[in-house]
């Protein structure tokens, strides 16, 4: 449902069915809506059977990378005698993305149930849910829901009488985008600076506290209950053509649209309909100029590319970008592409953990060069310099924050050269004032 708007007939509502329904937040309210049946069913299955069901459903990670969830779970060792951990990534900080927030605010038990199923499937007795420090409201809702789940036997030492222990701990972040990167998140939980770790070892081998660990996004975990209840075949059938992208997905749409919100659509849905119909299109008299579809860390799309694209992992790659976390930043013809790219570069410069040189220097210098262009002091060769820096920032660092900064810059210069030209030729007045 396109919360805060009523559901649109073209949506396929699974995860967002109860957004805006206050009673669904409570334990009895959730049970009344069929909640915790999936967990009870899961506890009667073997972990392997659950993993096979997830594999068959085609569910892929909803946090951005799109890795097959069942396959990820299958990497966890078996019979190793070590404690296993599940970490739920609720550090939603990718500009343009605000779907996990709504899952936690409205259906906390949907997430708790999904976490419990995943924990059981990977042999973990403890699940840490890492919630970004700024999410004060989701934190309160989740805290209460976890307490209620314990009180009703859905968590604890003997989950629903199965003899299985599943503990759930909410861990509050403290302001750091990079902690959404899985290895940085593990460091943060361990009481360290949130610097990403070099892989290998991968988390399934040596993750949190050095133990086998699986990290999944909120939306991915929330999707596991409906899959177990209604079956892999049903989920796989929610697909508009491309069998590699299945199920429903929450698309956050923001920026210059009439009805910003979260829209749940079947994979393969036309992007044109998402932007111009579900999200209400542009303001009167305005035209679509550009879309950054994956949260901010992916290449920018022109209006023509966006309007011809399908909303799934492969469809967006085909049109020159990536699905990422599906946070759509929509810009109409009033947007200044150079300024918005500068603002994103500034974001990455602020959020770089500064561990790798290419990222620490690259994000800072690209920001400074873009600032210079916006001050009307740019030189023609600045574009080549930005492209050269971006190239050195891509594929050479421990994590992909640096690559994420480069993606909108490179695509912006290639797809909107006239916007840069306007500043470089001094045809356009500086957007930033020169100080001193």
């Amino acid at each position: 449902m396109g919360y805060p708007h009523p559901s649109h007939p073209k949506e396929t509502v699974v995860l967002s069915k109860y957004f805006g329904d206050a009673e669904a937040r409570t334990y009895p309210g959730w049970v009344k809506r069929g909640g915790y049946e999936a967990l009870k069913k899961a506890l009667g299955m073997t972990p392997d059977a659950i993993i096979e069901e997830l594999k068959a459903s085609g569910l892929r990670g909803r946090g951005g990378a799109g890795f097959p969830t069942g396959l990820k779970w299958s990497f966890m060792p078996k019979g190793d005698g070590k404690p296993h951990y599940l970490v739920c990534n609720a550090d939603e900080s990718e500009p343009g993305t605000f779907k996990d927030r709504e899952i936690m605010r409205w259906t906390p038990h949907q997430l708790i149930e999904g976490c419990a199923i995943a924990a059981y499937a990977i042999g973990a007795e403890t699940c840490y849910i890492y919630i970004r420090g700024e999410f004060t409201e989701p934190w309160k809702v989740m805290s209460r829901a976890v307490d209620d789940a314990y009180a009703n036997g859905a968590l604890g030492g003997n989950v629903f009488g199965s003899g299985k222990r599943i503990d759930m701990v909410l861990h509050r972040g403290a302001g750091a985008y990079i902690c959404g990167e899985e290895t940085a998140m593990m460091n943060s939980i361990e009481g360290r600076r949130g610097n990403p770790r070099i892989k290998p070892p991968f988390p399934a081998q040596a993750g949190l506290f050095g133990m086998p660990t699986t990290i999944n996004n909120v939306e991915t975990l929330a999707a596991t209950s409906p899959i177990l209840l209604r079956g892999a075949a049903w989920y796989k059938g929610l697909c508009l053509g491309n069998p590699k992208s299945t199920g429903t997905k929450l698309f956050s749409v923001c920026g210059h649209v009439m009805k910003p919100g979260n829209y749940e659509i079947t994979m393969g849905f036309p992007m044109n309909d998402l932007i111009h119909d579900l999200a209400g299109g542009m303001r009167p008299g305005r035209r679509l100029k550009a879309v950054i579809p994956g949260g901010s860390s992916v290449p920018i799309m022109t209006a023509a590319e966006a309007e011809a694209s399908l909303c799934d992992y492969e469809g967006i790659i085909e049109k020159g970008s990536m699905l990422g976390s599906a946070g759509f930043i929509v810009m109409d013809d009033s947007a200044d592409i150079v300024y918005e790219i500068y603002r994103l570069a500034k974001f990455y410069a602020h959020e770089s953990c500064a561990q790798c040189t290419q990222c620490r220097e690259g994000t800072a210098w690209t920001t400074k060069i873009l600032e210079r262009i916006l001050k009307g002091q740019g030189k023609r060769e600045d574009l080549d310099l930005l492209l050269d820096l971006s190239d050195k920032m891509t594929g050479r660092t421990i994590c992909v924050l640096s690559d994420s900064c480069a993606a909108p810059i490179v695509s912006g210069i290639k797809k909107f050269p006239e916007e840069f030209d306007a500043y470089l030729s001094r045809a356009k007045a500086p957007a930033l004032a020169t100080v001193g």
Partner: protein, 171 residues
């Protein structure tokens, strides 16, 4: 940051945070993690909730209860933007300014807040010690532009017109 605000906090002698209910809160965290060090972020939150900021003595206290060095604790605390390592106003305001909110007019909201609070510039505390205002990166509520956090309250869809009414709730 005004020198006056800084001084008024610094003059009060430091009282340990981890006593009574705060101590119990801390102790309740230990069984949730296999190491003591993992309680570091939550412990820093407890200090900030109790003091409004994390003074050097608070860093030392956290280090002592977790068996870490103050230098290590400070190194971690400085990594995260939400820990206040210097005093702030009675109410701490965070305004989102990243691209999606910028497209929707976050600059106007920020200017209205700076004007209404009398803070003048970003990071500054108002002369009456009531507010500190900062611009922050993406708050994860882009569909509800512009989100503003005041203390622990999340305000959605803030417009310049709504600013005086919202701020009036924070004496």
């Amino acid at each position: 940051m005004s020198a006056a605000t800084h001084g008024s906090h610094a003059e009060a002698p430091y009282q340990p945070v981890f006593v009574g209910a705060s101590r119990e809160k801390l102790e309740a965290l230990f069984p949730k993690y296999p190491t003591k060090q993992a309680v570091l972020l939550p412990a820093l939150w407890i200090v900030q909730e109790g003091r409004g900021w994390i003074p050097p003595e608070g860093i030392a206290e956290v280090a002592a209860v977790l068996g870490l060095t103050p230098a290590y604790v400070r190194g971690v605390a400085t990594f995260y933007t939400m820990y206040h390592l210097h005093p702030v106003g009675r109410h701490f305001i965070q305004v989102c300014g990243t691209s999606p909110c910028h497209l929707c007019g976050s600059d106007d909201v920020l200017h209205a807040i700076l004007k209404e609070t009398g803070c003048g510039e970003l990071g500054a505390t108002s002369p009456d010690g009531r507010f500190t205002v900062t611009e922050v990166e993406c708050l994860g509520a882009c569909g509800f532009a512009t989100p503003v956090i005041i203390d622990d309250d999340f305000h959605d869809s803030v417009t310049p017109e709504r600013v005086p009414g919202i701020l009036a709730r924070y004496p």
